[in-house]
Each structure stands twice: as C-alpha cells, then as structure tokens.
C-alpha cells in the first residue's frame, strides 16, 4: 500500500462515483427500513435518504456541489421520467375523462387552498413578506414555483427548498390525511397528492397504484399551470 488514508479520502470525496453510490445506498437502505417497519409513512424512503445524506455530508465536510457531481446522474433522470408520466396518464385517460368535472373543481379548490392557507398560516405566525411570497407557490413543481416566486417578489431559492419540503411532507402525510377524511377512491387519492405535493407526491402515488399515479401526474401538471396563471393575478389584485 503506497497510498495513505489521506490520499484515499481526497480521491473518494471528489469522485462522482461516491456521490452516486451513497445516493443509491441511502435510498435502498431507506426502502429497506420502510418495508421492515410495515410501510410506516413517517419512515418514507425519500425522507430517510435525505436525512442520512445530509448527515453524512455534514459530518464528512463534503460540500453539496461536490456531492451533486455524482448525484446529478440520478437527478438527470427526472426529466425523461416526467415525460414518461404521459404513459400512465394515457392508459387511465378514460377514467380521467369521466372525472373531468369533479377534477376541474377539485383543481381550483385545491390550488387556492394550498397557496391561501400557506400564506394565512405564515402571516398569522408572523413570517416576513418575502417568506410569505416564497411560501405561496410551494405546492407547485420546482421550476414553475421558482418562476412564480421571482415574478411576485419571493426568493426563488427559498421557494425551491419549501417546494421540496412540501413534497416530502405530502408523501409522508398524504395517505394518513386521506384516511382521516375517509377518502379511499384511488382517483381522488392520486389527484390530491399530486396537487398538494407535485412530483414527490406523484412518486408516492405511483407506489400505491397506476390509477393513483396517473391522476397525481395530471394534478401536478394542471396545478402548475393554474398557479402560474392565477397566483400573480390574485396577489396583484390583493395588492400584496
């Protein structure tokens, strides 16, 4: 062994292979815990993986850009996977068409609830104006939400974090909340989770079934569109 531990560490911390491997490793471990626990929602694999990885990076002092050089290979697949959501949507389109009316009303109600309650609760708790405007689009998929925040005077980077946290929250709490209000219908389950927590909610909905996944993907797209159009108008009208 000519190489000492220090050199080895410098190599490992910098190679993209490490970032990629620990991402997969943390997620596989998270999945294992989730299954072993009997699918307890709080032990959501995404949540576990994020907590583990933030812990590992903080302890080892590896910064996020270095980690991301490896993790980007996983991150990159989000694009084609989003395009692929058209397939379950197409396969379930008969059901979508038959629910067109309830779906449209639920879209408007849910979209207004998501933005409205976030701003009301935040305002009631004394959040600053910037934080409130960053909170408003948090149920919308990241790129759209950041665009909205930029337009309305929020902080796009803060919005990006709030979006991710909302997604994880929805994936963790979604099935429990729906059970509490007595909803078992797979279409409503998927639509609610996709609307409130975009792609991460959609991913969770797909794990429940294809109908849930199709309606969640649709809700994610529609809520993104509606919020992008409505929210700036409403905020301007309210004079916020």
């Amino acid at each position: 062994m000519s190489r000492d531990i220090g050199d080895l560490w410098v190599y490992l911390a910098a190679t993209p292979l490490t970032g990629l491997t620990i991402t997969l490793g943390a997620y596989v471990f998270g999945q294992w815990i989730f299954r072993r626990s009997g699918h307890r929602p709080i032990l959501n694999p995404v949540l576990l993986a994020v907590v583990i990885l933030v812990g590992v990076l903080s302890v080892t002092g590896v910064d996020y850009p270095t980690y991301f050089q490896g993790a980007q290979f996983v991150h990159f697949l989000l694009g084609p996977a989003t395009v692929a959501l058209a397939v379950p949507l197409y396969r379930q389109f008969d059901k979508v068409r038959r629910s067109a009316l309830s779906l449209s009303v639920a879209l408007v109600a849910g979209s207004l609830t998501a933005a409205g309650t976030a701003m009301l609760l935040g305002g009631w708790m004394g959040a600053s104006r910037e934080v409130l405007l960053s909170l408003a689009p948090k149920s919308v998929t990241t790129p759209i939400a950041m665009g909205i925040a930029e337009l309305t005077g929020g902080l796009p980077s803060l919005t990006a974090v709030l979006v991710i946290l909302t997604g994880i929250l929805g994936a963790v709490a979604g099935t429990g909340v729906l059970r509490l209000v007595g909803i078992v219908d797979p279409k409503a389950t998927g639509f609610a989770m996709g609307l409130a927590s975009h792609g991460i909610g959609t991913a969770r909905a797909l794990e429940l079934g294809e109908i849930q996944g199709a309606f969640a993907g649709l809700a994610m797209g529609l809520n993104g569109l509606l919020t992008a159009v409505l929210l700036p108008l409403i905020l301007a009208w309210l004079g916020v």
Partner: protein, 126 residues
C-alpha cells in the same frame, strides 16, 4: 429498457425545453414533453409495449430521483433557521389542508357510475 424509446423520451424533453425557451413559457420543458407524448399517444391510439416498459422502468423508482434535490435543502438551512417556526406551521398546515380539500371535493362531486370497481387495495405499479 428500450434504447429507441429512451431516446424518444429524451427527444421530447429536448423539444419541450426548446419550446419553453423559445416562447418564454412558464411550463418547464419536461412537462411540455409529457403533454407532447400524451398527444402523440392519443393520435396513435395506443402505447407500444416497449414504450410502456421503458416508461414504467423509469417511473418505478421515481421517488429516488428526488433525493439529490432533497439533499440540496442543506444549503438553505441557515435561511430557514430565522423563521423556521412560521415556515413549519405554514407548510404542515397547508399541505394537509390542500390534500384534504382536493380529495374531499373530488369525491363529493364524482358521479357515482355503475361500472366503477370498488376501491382497490394498495398495489405495486407494474
């Protein structure tokens, strides 16, 4: 995973990104790509089995794909620290409210149709 169909998915995303940039659309490229693929499937009247296999291959582990972005939260912890209480209450409260309201409205307005199957048990996607 079929290479031609993976290429198709990437091409549609690329077309989506180009449309997004060229017309300054608020909708992100991949979502435009999803709409394009959906339109294509409607016109064609069916999804080839190899496309379904490729699509579900990617979607099977969709949750994993959000992990790198999720870890990015660590960059903004100081930003959140100042107002974490109000942010926490707002996020938890509004996420629960949005899920409950959306699901409730949809179920209430759903036309009960006779050929609908009873609610199914949770299942894995294919």
């Amino acid at each position: 995973m079929s290479l031609p169909f993976l290429t198709l998915l990437l091409s549609l995303q690329l077309v989506g990104e180009i449309l997004h940039l060229a017309f300054g659309l608020s909708v992100p490229g991949p979502v435009i790509g999803m709409a394009l693929l959906f339109a294509g499937l409607m016109i064609r009247g069916g999804a080839p089995p190899a496309l379904e296999k490729t699509a579900f291959g990617l979607l099977e582990n969709l949750s994993l794909l959000f992990v790198p972005a999720g870890v990015g939260v660590m960059l903004y912890l100081p930003l959140l620290a100042a107002e974490w209480r109000s942010v926490l209450i707002a996020l938890v409260g509004s996420t629960i409210a949005a899920i409950a309201v959306t699901g409730w409205v949809m179920v209430k307005l759903n036309r009960p149709d006779s050929n609908e199957q009873p609610p199914e048990l949770p299942e894995q996607s294919p």
